[in-house]
Symmetry: C2
Subunit: 396 residues, 2 copies
């Protein structure tokens, strides 16, 4: 496994992937916005670019033309973002009733919505099925029995464990059936006559190890075989999310990942024929489209450290910086740089995001701070703790 990972990192380097950096147009945009910000600013903004959203969907469709992208709503549930992605041709993946309701209100067909959260309230299952959702994920015998009891006609797909090595945020600790559990679920589905008809896996969020997809697909093929032998009719493979963007390290390009996926899929499709393959990109479709604009609340020196307090932090939309993803940050200030401890505005000591940033020493209260690549898991994860307002999403 370690060798495979090293190999894929080498491949990335060979492809010349570059880190996300601030472009001139982004800085120009902020310069244009300044008068309006100075006059009307009330709260942090997530500026979302329609153009980049559409570009990312097109890029996904070009790299993986036979694989339908179903946007993971959790990454950015703002209505304008969802509408833009729907218009660009994506389906959707939901984790809850509220996410489903939002999509239905927009006119999304329920049959294009996959309920991929492996654990679901009984009344959420009943509601989704009554509205026309066809596919439901699970990763345990108990969830299989629950869904089948509530919605016997539901099509079910099994979330399996797969390697998350090389991913920024591992998801395999919480979800995914082990080998032993897979056999138990298949046997139970066959006994119940439940339509267990697909397999899904998640390689981990921000996955930089392309081998995770290969291994997941190879394991899925084995499970398809096991399903067939049990008398089930597998016809869905859901490749999940994890398609990375280059935030703080060079990530493998989607095109490179697509090559690995296509070659791993080849034998599976030959063996099992008519399989629908979908994917659930979240971050990949929205991250680069988002520019988080916030303001310095205070810049101070305490105990021989430089502290930069922003009006958003762990609670206000920058949770992932705290989780170790070093988002690109820039300002309009100039001059020599120094190391800053970056913190949010609340009274809570958890609300320290990082001590890694080098930014101009001249920064002071009122200056603007831009966080790049921030269209995913920013407004989606924010709360109003300490009375600080949620970031406002503005589509451009």
């Amino acid at each position: 496994m370690a060798e495979n990972y090293a190999h894929s990192v080498q491949q990335v380097a060979a492809k010349g992937a570059t880190l996300h950096t601030f472009s001139s147009p982004q800085r120009d945009k902020l310069q244009q916005l300044l008068p309006s910000l100075q006059a009307h600013y009330q709260q942090p903004l997530v500026l979302m670019s329609r153009q980049i959203l559409a570009r990312q969907v097109a890029r996904f469709q070009a790299a993986l033309p036979t694989i339908a992208p179903h946007f993971a709503v959790k990454a950015n549930p703002h209505p304008d973002v969802l509408r833009c992605l729907m218009e660009a041709g994506t389906g959707f993946e939901v984790a809850s009733k509220a996410e489903l309701d939002q999509l239905l209100a927009m006119g999304v067909q329920a049959s294009k919505v996959f309920y991929s959260n492996p654990v679901k309230s009984p009344h959420y299952i009943a509601y989704a099925a009554s509205m026309g959702v066809e596919w439901f994920a699970l990763d345990s015998v108990e969830e299989l029995e629950k869904i089948h009891r509530i919605a016997p006609a539901a099509k079910l797909y099994l979330r399996i464990y797969t390697s998350n090595k090389g991913s920024s945020i591992e998801l395999s600790a919480k979800f995914g059936a082990s080998r032993e559990d897979v056999s138990a679920v298949i046997a139970r589905a066959a006994a119940l006559g439940a339509d267990l008809a697909g397999v899904t896996f998640h390689v981990g969020s921000q996955c930089c190890n392309v081998d995770n997809w290969r291994l997941g697909i190879e394991r899925s093929a084995e499970i398809f075989g096991e399903m067939h032998r049990a008398g089930l009719e597998p016809r869905l493979l859901d490749l999940g999310g994890g398609y990375p963007v280059s935030i703080d390290q060079a990530a493998p390009s989607l095109e490179l990942i697509a090559q690995v996926i296509h070659s791993a899929l080849q034998p599976l499709l030959v063996e099992f024929g008519n399989i629908t393959v979908i994917a659930e990109p979240g971050r990949f479709l929205v991250a680069e489209a988002g520019l988080f604009v916030c303001q310095v609340v205070a810049a101070s020196r305490r105990d021989q450290q430089n502290w930069l307090y922003l009006d958003a932090g762990f609670y206000g939309g920058l949770l992932e910086i705290k989780e170790g993803l070093e988002y690109p940050i820039t300002t309009l200030a100039s001059g020599p740089e120094q190391s800053w401890v970056l913190a949010g505005p609340t009274c809570d000591s958890i609300d320290i995001c990082s001590d890694q940033y080098r930014l101009p020493a001249s920064l002071q209260a009122g200056d603007w701070v831009m966080v790049g690549c921030a269209g995913a898991y920013s407004n989606a994860c924010a709360c109003e703790f300490n009375g600080f307002p949620l970031p406002k999403v503005v589509m451009e």
Copy 2:
């Protein structure tokens, strides 16, 4: 320090402090609520008891009769909670403009509101001063200069570093001026003619080491002396928050803490005369008044572990369980117990709260779960990530 801590733990044991446990009335209440929950439940509830809120205020006032409690709004900003505390006679402490606005709308006098967040946006300072807030905290020369520039008549109090040893959540990493910084702030205040007129410290959240208060008060007395020598007129001592409740370990009683505070204050009051002493209890006033009621989404066995997924977790109001506070949890189920991994309902692997709980093995989807002592930092910290609704606060 270690000896002092051991000593205070011994004292606690001697006083016979007991852990928070579920009372019969709480279980009875839930039994009474069951028909309504079964029929109307939409989202987790925080059931807040007016009676316990009033009891806690009275207890604080009885133990510390010369020290005015100013509730830390961040602990539970629900309007009904704030109104109940106001009626019971507390002042308030705020961290932001929104918190202040809420209090003003309720008719709280601005002069009873302390702005204790040591870092504040320039426009928040201007707004608070214009509305009549008199006292503003700071912990750096930069914040002193900023407040004095915007609101020259403001009364200022200096947040100093103090030991957080023995506290569940340390706050001294983010705020508090060191010895060196204290001298710099005092000198700058004297030079500017700023009314630096008080000292505050925070012993850490859920502080179980009573010596932290003694040390903080002794250090404050030293700083009062330094302020006098610089020509300033100190007249406020703010003892901050940190007053614990017994969540997962026996905490020192407020009455014990009050003894330590009173004897440490004695020489300070003799030396400096007319000093107003306030405190900022947050958790202490609201935690025990809150019962968090939520529902099991799924109970499953995966990879030889028992998983109990609730409809609220790290994102939905139970953040502090994830942070290591083992809240008391009970259910109406019976029978033999087993170990459960407790997780929230989202697709995120961060959303695993604990693997420490022993609860009945018979638990299944739809069962009710009660988290005790949950009136602080529950609804206050919740967000709607993955489309799960915020907990609803119900006052009784």
